[in-house]
Symmetry: C2
Subunit: 231 residues, 2 copies
DNA sequence: TTACAGCCATGTTTTATAACACAAAAGTAG
DNA sequence: CTACTTTTGTGTTATAAAACATGGCTGTAA
């Protein structure tokens, strides 16, 4: 499940942050970072848990979500490789407020937060990196609040699809590069599963997408973006 | 409207950050910070504008909000003295995504972001301060997303009232220490003005609060918190 | 093979909330 | 003081979305 050797295979890809480090700092990371693999749907961390490590998704797809009222869960954001996550709670000196789980088999590099902050003390660029990430995350969260509360179902679902396209991209045949259960799509869009299914169907009848099981092929991306934008 | 002398009257209260600085850094701030006064309902910054200064609210009350679909605006967060704001966009290297306006006559200290980042380069504690603030803000935003989307009207309004109590406090007679138009209360709670008014009325009939114009007196705070929590 | 669980899909009913309409009250300007 | 705008309050109607119910499909396990 975890190993320190494996880090060498990936260390080139931790890029963004890696570039900001000197040799000594890189060495420190190499000695303290470790890899974990997660199965499909496996939990990565839970709400209420004490945050200890910075995580970087190397392979796979991860959802950050919250269990809301009456079992309904809300996907807050999604992570793609190579992306850092799980740092907010530690920086805020709080427990985790969210849960994280793997959409599909995923590989995560974990770095003890103590090591990260040790480096930050002497490396302004790493500080700057996290400040930027947090600021971007906060901007996205603010946008999302308004979109989820004010857009109608069609707009919210369209937005989620656009979001998935922008995050994970399209294959050559315009299939969205992630296969989500209808329930996940619903949780991403703040609606019931029934309504996600229904609304997908109307998108099909409007020739905006086609469906083949969980494969979503985008026919009219422009129209999709328009629906997403206008609510 | 602005003055550099006035900064001396307040510099003691910029506390949190002030404490983290050495004499030279404090001098730098004193020479570059300036004060602006804002009238009731006056805009402080607008969406799309280029962020240039860090702001610190010295006196008054400020709302950060977004204009959503169809003129409906959503209050994202509220600021109380002494609190820093307006830093997210600069750190993210974006334009402002939100608007800010004064609820009531307010005094703001502005510090050029260039000066702030200059200090941050050599002062890890100031970096840490902003990382912490951003992390706290992000946590609040995540919570808020779920609360606004999943709670019912009563829960959302109760939550707003609790939020106002926790932010601005109660006077000796249990009056919430801010006088908001029903419309602002609605925008804070993601509902129409009519429904804010209606729901306030039912809270009165349930002896949870009493109303006298815009004065809201809290009778049963526990019950209010319970409604807020249970949605 | 059958039985069963987990997704999909779709039709019907119910309900929360927005939208609308209209007064009354309060604040503001001339 | 009067006219006028803005805010507040309430009743009614319309509607978006949830809740519920049911059935089909697919894969899996006995």
């Amino acid at each position: 499940m975890q190993g320190k050797e494996e880090i060498y295979n990936y260390s080139g890809s931790l890029n963004e942050v890696w570039r900001l480090l000197n040799d000594q700092e890189r060495m420190l990371l190499r000695h303290n970072a470790f890899i974990q693999h997660f199965k499909k749907n496996q939990q990565i961390y839970c709400e209420g848990e004490e945050p200890k490590e910075l995580m970087c998704l190397l392979k796979g797809k991860v959802k950050i979500y919250k269990e809301g009222i009456g079992g309904r869960s809300q996907i807050i954001r999604i992570i793609k490789p190579i992306q850092y996550f799980a740092y907010r709670a530690y920086f805020a000196r709080e427990k985790y407020l969210t849960d994280a789980a793997a959409f599909e088999p995923s590989t995560v590099c974990l770095i003890p937060m103590k090591v990260v902050t040790e480096i930050m003390k002497h490396n302004y660029n790493v500080c700057k990196f996290f400040i930027r990430q947090l600021s971007l995350d906060l901007g996205i969260a603010d946008e999302r609040t308004v979109n989820l509360t004010q857009k109608h179902i069609r707009g919210r679902l369209a937005e989620s699809l656009v979001f998935l396209i922008d995050s994970y991209g399209l294959e050559e045949d315009n299939t969205i590069n992630i296969y989500l259960a209808r329930e996940d799509l619903a949780n991403l869009s703040n609606m019931t599963t029934s309504n996600a299914i229904r609304t997908l169907s109307t998108f099909v009848s409007e020739k905006i997408i086609t469906l083949d099981g969980r494969k979503i092929k985008v026919i009219d991306e422009e129209k999709l973006r328009k629906i997403s934008k206008l609510g």
